[in-house]
């Protein structure tokens, strides 16, 4: 069977715009959380977010006409440019070969959708712009990015809530394994916007910002955790058929060794079924990688500070790893990046490739005491030295979707 390797990454995040910068920020314990600048509303219970301050796509996309691109499309097109550069795909290669894009996103640009509708409501439908309408489709960012960079291969978008980014990488890896594609950009993106922020706020899922709250920041697995903060960003990885990467002498960051996905049909209403689905996704990924749980050297958790989601993930880790869980270092980068929804899983993969390279696993910012309410997770607020041959990435949605991915350090020759 064909093997799939990662030969580059493009990152646009509130903690930096390269894999090295992201890793340095995470290992420096930097939090991206700060008071909202993009929008505000007196009705919001949460007023903090992990925004990309002063995001300027011109920096990555030069003098191109960016007017037709909304924030989501700019994030994706910028990350794509960086990933193409990082992996050494130039204009000539893209003209010769149909490179594709598989994007994970929860909403696309909800702001574009809602603004188009509201303009028609308030000014009248004849004032709604046809060009804006083209951007209301959830796949618009992937389409705009393909146009900007000449990506003529498979162009797909997948939506599985907060696990979209990892699911997109899993999908792309399968396309390469099956021989349907040789090189694909894959990952995820999400913008911060008022409409989705307000929805999460009303659902009571975000960290309360009032002064009586015990913590205003997300602290995954901590006993004091009270919710998550929303973030934004984009991360795309260049996935290639390993033999093709070898032929062109590409630098390999990691190998996608196995993927697994599962669903909880109770949609989170039944704790046992929710834990079972997460465990199933991880087991399927390990089976796909032909590895035993004990071979995994570290785990990048999906945990974002939610009361319920973090507890379930801890139970799922205990279920899959059994006694090996006691020796499994776990990190949760959402303590610093926030919950970036569709981008989250892809950002975790990028961060883990850096941990594989330099052996430093970022700590969980703010962690004091893991919750005694669930099985112990080997988490730490401090960075740890780890020698990672194989790492597991978990990415879970809020209402049933789970994906896991096994990453392998490239073999040394």
């Amino acid at each position: 069977m064909r093997r799939v390797v990662i030969t580059g990454a493009g990152v646009v995040s509130p903690l930096g715009d390269s894999r090295a910068a992201l890793h340095a920020a995470l290992c420096g314990g930097r939090s991206a959380a700060k008071p909202l600048e993009l929008f505000g509303d007196e009705k919001l219970g949460c007023t903090l977010a992990c925004e990309i301050t002063d995001f300027d796509a011109q920096k990555y996309l030069g003098g191109r006409n960016l007017r037709p691109l909304d924030r989501t499309a700019r994030l994706v097109a910028s990350a794509a440019r960086l990933a193409l550069e990082d992996s050494g795909f130039g204009v000539e290669t893209l003209a010769r070969e149909a490179v594709g894009l598989v994007l994970g996103t929860m909403f696309g640009s909800l702001r574009t959708i809602s603004e188009f509708d509201r303009r028609a409501l308030t000014a009248g439908p004849t004032y709604a712009s046809p060009m804006d309408f083209a951007n209301t489709v959830i796949s618009a960012a992937a389409g705009q990015t393909a146009i900007m960079h000449g990506l003529r291969g498979v162009n797909s978008t997948v939506s599985t809530g907060a696990s979209s980014g990892l699911q997109a990488i899993a999908y792309a890896a399968d396309l390469i394994r099956a021989g349907s594609a040789r090189a694909l950009l894959a990952g995820g993106a999400e913008e911060l916007c008022f409409e989705s922020f307000y929805g999460f706020d009303r659902a009571g899922l975000l960290c309360p910002s009032n002064n009586s709250a015990p913590v205003k920041y997300p602290i995954p697995f901590d006993a004091r955790r009270g919710g998550f903060l929303l973030g934004e960003g984009a991360a795309l990885l260049m996935l290639e058929d390993a033999s093709r990467a070898r032929e062109r002498g590409a630098h390999v960051l990691a190998e996608v060794k196995g993927v697994g996905s599962a669903f909880d049909p109770s949609r989170g209403k039944d704790d046992g079924k929710a834990v079972a689905a997460e465990a199933r996704a991880a087991r399927l990924a390990l089976e796909d990688a032909q590895l035993q749980p004990a071979s995994i050297d570290c785990l990048s958790a999906s945990a974002n500070g939610s009361l319920c989601a973090d507890r379930r993930e801890a139970y799922a880790i205990a279920d899959v790893f059994a006694s090996a869980a006691r020796k499994l270092p776990v990190t949760a980068v959402k303590s610093m990046l926030g919950e970036t929804l569709g981008a989250a899983g892809a950002l975790q993969v990028v961060a883990l490739t850096e941990t594989m390279r330099d052996g430093v696993l970022p700590g969980i910012r703010g962690l004091e005491e893991t919750d005694g309410d669930f099985p112990p997770v080997v988490a730490s607020p401090q960075n740890r030295r780890v020698d990672v041959s194989f790492g597991l990435v978990n990415s879970n949605g809020f209402d049933g979707h789970s994906s896991s991915l096994v990453l392998a350090r490239p073999s040394r020759r």
């Binding site: 509708d117 004849t126 389409g143 393909a146 797909s156 939506s159 399968d174 349907s180 049909p265």
Partner: protein, 412 residues
């Protein structure tokens, strides 16, 4: 037992569930398509007042409670209601009780253009009217598009892979292709694959502003065609491995043999002038399915009825099939059910499977005056008995996305 290797697994369609503007259920829809019934009428879902067009293809007399047994219809959006109904019909059509299959090995792969747009429209109404305080937890629980595939799995208790592919007007084909890949890779034993979209004022307004909606009829390939007619609905097929279907003695409609996806990388709403991407998608569909161009017996056209689409699709089919294109029947059921968005190519894939099983091709209706630039055999106005061994289902989308799916008569 040792699983067969990936390339040895064949994938077949054993169940079809349809919710369309010309009826609900495989038999009713097929009968009405062959009879040339059109589901186009004045729009009732919302007031099209200020626009210059007012007709659409809506699903009338749909009672969600007839199909949603384990889901409270009030708690899910209209796309999810359609999707669950189509899924239930497909499972029944396949002769599968939901408990007859290992639920953790059943996947759901759905496509959509707009997800659950009525939920964001309600949000926008409240925002505009200064009633945002009335938004509660239900908005986030109902709006995100992944709810469509999640609600289908929730209704039946399916815990296998679950994915929503929002690739606009080609999403149904993408979703079937994903299910096909998942079965071939051994990631599921059975996949419900399809697409769903509800009638939406955002979609209707948008296409109206693009000048793409016809005032009266959808007339694909006609010289006087004036555009598409937005529609709504859902289509779901049961995909399983040939080995599994044979073991349980299932009726097989057709085999999914392969597909091709490509991107023009050219323009968000306009196709490439020579149909480059469309040709590449068809070529890849033929290659991956091991099919020669001359063996294709029917093309289910994207055929929206817009002046540009139909002309360019004709150009692309001629580029690929050359002289044989003139003898190759190609029809568009959008002439009858309108453009059902993310559901369209799923419904059309199901119709291709029926065309193969019944050796009969549904017509392109409302084609009264031939267009010199559209000079192929569009099966005008009357269904045709015709041996269909291989069908190609084409669908195109915003962003320059092209998809072609190849279905074949299943020879064991």
């Amino acid at each position: 037992m040792k699983q067969p290797r990936r390339m040895e697994r064949r994938v077949v369609i054993t169940g079809i569930g349809l919710v369309t503007p010309v009826g609900t259920g495989r038999e009713a829809v097929w009968r009405n398509l062959l009879a040339g019934r059109c589901g186009v009428a004045p729009v009732e879902a919302y007031d099209t007042g200020e626009l210059s067009v007012h007709r659409g293809a809506e699903v009338k007399q749909f009672s969600a409670k007839d199909y949603l047994i384990n889901t409270d219809a009030e708690t899910v959006g209209r796309a999810s209601q359609f999707a669950i109904a189509a899924a239930r019909l497909a499972l029944e059509d396949a002769g599968l009780a939901p408990d007859a299959v290992e639920p953790e090995r059943v996947g759901v792969s759905m496509g959509t253009t707009s997800g659950e747009p009525l939920e964001i429209e309600r949000f926008d109404d409240r925002l505009v009217n200064g009633e945002l305080g009335e938004v509660g937890a239900e908005f986030m629980a109902r709006y995100p598009c992944h709810n469509i595939s999640a609600n289908v799995a929730g209704e039946f208790g399916f815990g296998g892979l679950n994915i929503l592919i929002p690739t606009a007007c080609a999403a149904g084909n993408y979703a079937v292709a994903y299910g096909f890949d998942a079965l071939r890779a051994g990631r599921a034993s059975l996949v419900l694959a399809g697409g769903a979209d509800p009638f939406s004022r955002i979609t209707y307004t948008g296409f109206a502003r693009l000048g793409a909606i016809a005032p009266e009829l959808c007339q694909p390939f006609d010289r006087n065609r004036k555009g598409m007619i937005p529609g709504e609905g859902a289509g779901v097929v049961v995909l399983e491995t040939l080995a599994g279907a044979t073991r349980r003695g299932a009726r097989i409609y057709a085999e999914v043999a392969g597909y091709g996806l490509s991107c023009d990388a050219h323009h968000m709403t306009a196709a490439h002038a020579e149909g480059d991407g469309a040709v590449r998608a068809m070529e890849e569909a033929l290659r991956s399915s091991g099919t020669r161009a001359e063996d294709v017996s029917y093309v289910s056209a994207h055929g929206t009825g817009t002046p540009t689409n139909d002309r360019l699709e004709t150009v692309a089919v001629k580029r690929l099939f050359k002289e044989a294109a003139y003898r190759l029947p190609m029809s568009s059921i959008k002439s009858m059910i309108g453009h059902t968005m993310g559901a369209a190519s799923a419904i059309e894939a199901a119709v291709c499977a029926l065309a193969i099983q019944q050796d009969c091709i549904p017509p392109t209706m409302n084609l009264t005056e031939p267009d010199p630039e559209c000079d192929l055999d569009y099966v005008a106005n009357e269904a045709r008995g015709h041996e269909v061994n291989v069908a190609m289902n084409n669908a195109y989308a915003f962003g320059g996305n092209n998809s072609s799916l190849v279905l074949k008569k299943c020879e064991v």
